[in-house]
Amino acid sequence: MSPSPTAISGTRKDPDLLDRVPTEVGLTPFEAGRVRALVGREPNALEWGMFGAMWSEHCGYKHSKPLLRTLPTKGARVAIGPGENAGAVDLGDGLLCVFKVESHNHPSAVEPYQGAATGVGGILRDIFAMGARPVAVLNALAFGPPDEQRTRRLVSGVVGGISSYGNCVGIPDVGGHVSFEATYAENPLVNAMCIGLVRREGLRLAGTARPGSAVYLVGSDTGRDGIAGASLLASFELGAGDDAKRPSVQVGSPFLEKLLMEATLELVERDAVEAIQDLGAAGLTCATSEVAAKSAVGMRVDVDLVPRRATGMTPYEVMLSESQERMLVIARPGRERDVEEIFRRWELHGTRVGVVTEGQVLEVRAGGEVVASLAPRWLVDDVPEYDVTTWAKAPSAPLDTPPGGAPPVTEQKKIGLELLELLASPRVASRRILYRTYDQMVGTDTVVGPGGDAAVLRIKGRRDGIATSVDAQPRVAAVDPFGGAAAAVAEATRNVVCMGARPLAITDCLNLGNPERPEGAWQLERTVAGIVAACETLGVPVVSGNVSLYNATRDPLGGSHDIWPTAVIGAVGHLDDVAAHIPVTTGEDGDVVLLAGSATVSLDVSAYGADRASSGGAIDLELESRLQRFVLEAHARGLLRAAHDRSDGGLGAALAELCLRDGKGIRATLPAVRGIDKRVALFGEGASGVVLVAAPENADALRALALERDVPTWTLGAVGGDLLEVAPVLGLPIAALRDAYENGLPAALGRTL
């Protein structure tokens, strides 16, 4: 058993504190009881704080872990599944692609610029902590209506923060997703995804520290910023009385991150380290206990040795500070000099703060005394788990917010004008005004950046490449969390397929409301089930992810509404020959334009809008799977000139976007599906639709292949002219489409392009 440290004064004397302390660190009485049973004595305040942070939802996944275990995580190409800093797929020839998505919703709501910036910083560290060099970032964002002042401030702040951080570190931002829906007005979503590459032998995991090795803390000095911020402790009143006023806002330093990244990668390259762990939520507590628990060792840390940015910091503050841009580095015995030399050359502050020990005890020292002594596994592995399905309950009444959101089009205008309005609407319009502030090309590997269905990256010195996309389907999920999550998996992988890449795996970020409420629990359960179903049918495993719960929005009456359950899905696909991706073009004059997959669409949860949604547009995952395989096969046979996913704005928007690629026209007719209104056919949305363009001489072969693969197709028309013509309903000049699509978002945000 661990030595019993002297209690921090006050804990034992004041009986009131006995119950107050665990509550203040966010533990329920039940959890406090578990802690006492594990520790076998009354923990002191620091120890309570460590438990509070590590057993928080954010670090401990209390409400989601049992569900996450149901995700399919195995596959021939999976190199590292969930559980590490990030997951990885095998690209062949010894190269791994490491990736993960992470949320920074709450910090971004408090301080959009710094919240988003430090979100990017955090996900980058997750990737390079594994020894992988980050090669791209993506971001998925969700805001309220863009004409609201508050939204505009959030958009400027969040996009500014992402751009400032990623650009400075020098990682290209190659894609993303933005939703504008009222449900996110108070609670924006900011999810950042990062992709890195590492040779198999360069991979570093947390579970490889051995007793006797030196423990270094490197990077930024430790300050009072964000003390235990992740454990939902906005104002923890332990110690000095002014704690409450301390902002938990953390300010990032991308410059320091760049140095930290280069130094870490050099440490790995020179094989000077045993294990590396980034410091994120719960700071030093989390990093030390995770490395120790995963390596089945102990660790002794002397907080007096930790370089501080503020004076008079208590051990509690040092152990729970969430200062950005720090890494824990376990040196290989005998290589300490090299480690220190690398820190020095990259102009970094790196200090030896402890040692890996034999017994499985995490011992924190201060002023020559032991101030905390806990088994790392208590903090990491013994987190209580709650089975939310036991109280999950579907909402009895349909949602009171029409997920269509937009006012119903009562007085129907000319359908051509409606298409222009739809292209200019925030749900559909080009995101260029946002992503042009991101460096998309640094690294010179971006073959296709933002603006295509998915981004394409080359790998220098190799023939193959990667395609990646991040997507979400919040409107569908609002009425059907299962369908929305499944549709998001389908869309992300389909986008990758539209570049000619085979989806290898996904990462997911579950942005949901309060899991303690029956409906929140139901949404969580259904969301995970939707991902499971889609992954299984489409044959893509989940290799990493993140859960962000308690995303709630207040209504004017003071009640609290959960946001729509929003699964953000990042997909990574592989191209054997990166130069042979499906190009982002309109096609040549005379090329045949077809719709493949499903023509079943509805206005119910579309960007066009409906007054009340009755269904979330069910997805046929078997058809989706056949469609994706068909597109890849058609491309492999050289039958495709271009491909474009039908998504927000339906077939009308898809055709318009296709025209805008090269500024060429298309003459088309709507697919003849019995009983479907022309507006539904043009603006309706539904999964599993891809618009394909083929040279005339290949069209028959393409249709024959589709027939053989049991994928329905509809021939829509041909490329040519300088209008988008959809007979008999509209004919619009390309310039008008461009104007609507490009200026829509700037106008909605009250800016000029």
Partner: protein
Amino acid sequence: MARVAILRFPGTWSDRDFEHALSLAGAETEILWHEDVHLSGFDAAIVPGGFAYGDHVRAGAIARLSPAIRELRRFAEEGKPVLGSCNGFQILCEAGLLPGALTRNVGLEFRCDWVRMRIESDATPFTRGLKGAEVRMPIAHGEGCWVADEKTVERVEAEGLVVFRYVDERGAATAAGNPNGSLHNVAGLRSAAGNVVGLMPHPERCAEPLMGGTDGMKVLDGLVRSLGTAPAPLGV
């Protein structure tokens, strides 16, 4: 083979990109850490893009204090070719190797996009024979607005120091073609002697067809050819 030094400051990120692009142009390269920059034995030097020292204070301001700058100045005085791109251009201006200063884009936003430029001077090792040519290159910067006092601007124009000028689709130096508000649409400059050149765009990002353009290779290839030892470039 031409030996080209690529300077790396804390926060530089285009170093590897230049290394790759120059290797396509047939040059031998070495990345040098700013504290140990010794340029004897090199035929040319590149100051690449990035955020040296986080661009704190002003872009290039802290990098200017590095020992590398003294060595670079000496090297430039010997008449050796020096190219600064993006942050490198900012550093060269801060160091006084090129006139004027680069300030925040008038739109106040970082901008990553393709721009068009006209090459206005061929009196540099990078642009020989390219006078009048129009090129397309990517930019990625938040502080690329070139400013100087009136007298300097006049001198720069009178002496023909503008090497790259932003132009619109019709080839005119209009506001529409200017991504950052630079005076006189200046995108890149040379020193009076012509061997030091700086520009905001990124030639190393458009040196192969897969990257969407090859005009950058013209500049890098120009350098290698001017050094007189290059094999035929690859991939263009």
